[in-house]
């Protein structure tokens, strides 16, 4: 009920009907009165004029004033229009027209004071005159029914017109209310869609009403602004989430790095006596002594332990690097690819795109070799059984890549490894740089590869961008700071 009262489609017709219900009776009564008065005036004027003219004629000298002449005069009067009674009072005698209606009698109280007086529907008038030198009275009665009928007919016409007018007005009000409410209802429905999250729905509507069109245009521009702001906020939110994810990974790596640093110190200290005592013991046993092979195994195990510690330190960014110097990355990348080629099955294609114009980068060649082998090996692992394509590129980095990687100003060299493999979902993507995280079956990978690469790239002052989606392959883009060109010798 509440919503019905508020609906424009109901309110407008109701108001129109209510207004007419009040105004139309007043108008109808006024018009009726006016018409009636006008008709009565016409009637009484006619009556007055006719009576006067008949009286004048009666008083005229040329009239036959005999009883017979007077009777004929009265009878001829009766043939005129609406006369229903004619009588002449003269010398105390009454002469009446012969056609007088029997139900019409001269009223005892004298002629009518007003139209519609009495029940005989007759209007009586008397005129005093002088006939043959003596006073006489002419009494005439006029039929009111013709005028009554005209008044009634006019009243019917008026009522019919009013009804037709009222119906047309109601229809117009309904049409107008629909015309007004349609664009508003349309806008309301669209606004509901927007409120429920469907921001793409346009708020524009068509209407011949200028105000509605303008309001619709303003609302649509508001929606566009809102969508733009919303998009901007969404992008900022996504960027914030991505940044938070990277920070989380960074903090985790730092925590593991802290642990690794302390652990390496302890184990290195343990390895010193094991190594030295093993070597000393080897001196003490004869070449053919059965313990000798065991001691040599222990010695090799020490070497393996040293290698493991180096790897652990590498992902903890404590890698003890050889002195960094400007190197041509292309040479190191080609060396890495040559080594990787030995691992590559024939079903996997390898394409390389090396830009010879790349600037030198500050790095250690053995690290770059390790990075290339590791990334290509991961790409191989992601390949479907039928094989696929690995593309390795080396070129100067673009400004947008440098900005995306969050690196400062300067020139960078870009090493990219793209594979057509299975790709990664977001959860895997977030964890790939975690130490010991691996998607390979147990025993097929240490899970240190990407964390070591991340450590190496960070130690070199570079950064890694990973682009991947499930079933869309993966691209690892590594940026290394370029060496500043040497000043020309003067």
């Amino acid at each position: 009920m509440q919503s019905m009262r508020r609906s424009l489609q109901v309110v407008v017709p109701l108001v129109v009907v209510a207004a007419h219900a009040l105004l139309l009776p007043v108008l109808a009564i006024s018009l009726d009165q006016m018409f009636r008065r006008s008709e009565v005036n016409l009637f009484t004027s006619f009556v007055e004029d006719f009576s006067r003219r008949r009286a004048l004629w009666l008083a005229h000298e040329s009239l036959d004033a005999s009883d017979r002449g007077l009777q004929e005069f009265l009878d001829s009067t009766m043939t005129e229009g609406a006369i229903v009674f004619a009588e002449l009072i003269h010398d105390g005698r009454s002469i009446r027209a012969t056609q007088v209606r029997s139900d019409v009698q001269w009223p005892a109280s004298g002629p009518d004071a007003a139209y519609g007086y009495g029940v005989d529907h007759a209007f009586f008038v008397s005129k005093e005159l002088t006939l043959r030198g003596r006073p006489a009275t002419l009494r005439l009665g006029f039929d009111e029914t013709v005028t009554d009928n005209q008044i009634r007919h006019a009243r019917h016409l008026l009522l019919q017109s009013m009804v037709v007018y009222l119906l047309l007005t109601c229809l117009l009000a309904i049409w107008l209310s629909r015309k007004l409410s349609r664009p508003l209802v349309e806008l309301r429905d669209k606004a509901r869609h927007i409120a429920s999250g469907d921001f793409a729905r346009q708020l524009a509507t068509t209407s011949t009403i200028l105000e509605v069109t303008e309001m619709s245009a303003h609302l649509e521009s508001m929606r566009r602004e809102f969508v733009a702001v919303n998009d901007r906020l969404q992008r900022q939110l996504q960027a914030g989430i991505a940044l938070e994810g990277r920070l989380r990974v960074k903090h985790r790596l730092e925590a593991v790095g802290t642990l690794a640093g302390g652990l390496a110190h302890e184990i290195n200290n343990v390895l010193v006596p094991i190594t030295l005592y093993t070597e000393t013991a080897l001196d003490d046993v004869a070449a053919d002594h059965p313990a000798r092979s065991n001691l040599e195994r222990a010695q090799r195990a020490c070497q393996r332990a040293r290698n493991i510690i180096e790897k652990v330190l590498a992902f903890g960014r404590q890698v003890d690097v050889a002195p960094l110097r400007p190197i041509d990355l292309a040479t190191a990348v080609e060396e890495g690819l040559r080594l990787f080629d030995a691992l590559r099955p024939a079903s996997v294609q390898l394409r390389t795109y090396i830009d010879e114009g790349c600037p030198l980068a500050i790095a250690d060649p053995t690290m770059i070799v390790q990075v290339v082998i590791n990334l290509c090996s991961n790409a191989l692992h992601a390949m479907p059984p039928l094989g696929g394509l690995i593309e390795v590129g080396l070129r100067p980095a673009r400004a947008d890549e440098v900005q995306r990687a969050g690196l400062g100003r300067g020139e960078f060299v870009c090493l990219s490894v793209r594979d057509s493999g299975s790709g990664m979902d977001a959860a895997t993507r977030e964890r790939i740089f975690d130490p010991f995280f691996t998607t390979r079956p147990v025993g097929q990978g240490s899970g240190l590869g990407l964390s070591v690469i991340d450590g190496i790239v960070a130690a070199l002052g570079g950064a890694i961008i990973v682009d991947t989606e499930v079933a869309q392959g993966a691209t690892f883009t590594l940026l290394f700071p370029a060496a500043k060109p040497a000043a020309p010798v003067t």
């Binding site: 730092e254 790095g257 802290t258 640093g261 302390g262 390496a264 110190h265 302890e266 184990i267 290195n268 200290n269 343990v270 390895l271 010193v272 006596p273 094991i274 190594t275 030295l276 005592y277 070597e279 000393t280 001196d283 020490c302 332990a305 040293r306 330190l313 903890g316 960014r317 404590q318 890698v319 003890d320 690097v321």
Partner: protein, 139 residues
Amino acid sequence: MAQILVIDDEPDVRESMHEVLSRSGHAVRTAPNALDGIGMCRALQPDLLITDIIMPESHGFEAITQIRNDFPHVRIIAISGGGNFWPADYQPESVTTTAYLAAASRFGADAVLAKPFDRATLLALVDKLVSLPQGGRPN
């Protein structure tokens, strides 16, 4: 034959070095910390001091600094297994074995050696330093 003092807080490390160096004919003494080591160094004035860097109470930089000041002729080898002043003031980006050993060189160590090392590396370095003329520094 040279007189060598080994300072390391790890008993196994100093014992094993003691054995290896003794077997190569050197006279070896050991100390478990930098303070004891400095005292023994003053008393013995060895040809060569081999000191760890990260040790509890006082670290190897103190020993290197004092001995280099007081006894310029004593050769010094700094050894380190990385890690840090565990764990409160760990700085992952800057403090590495390389950084420690580089610092030791700046404080006056003649040579540095990253743990773990094998016997051949240790003996080769010791022989190289011992055979240098007095006051000479290795390249």
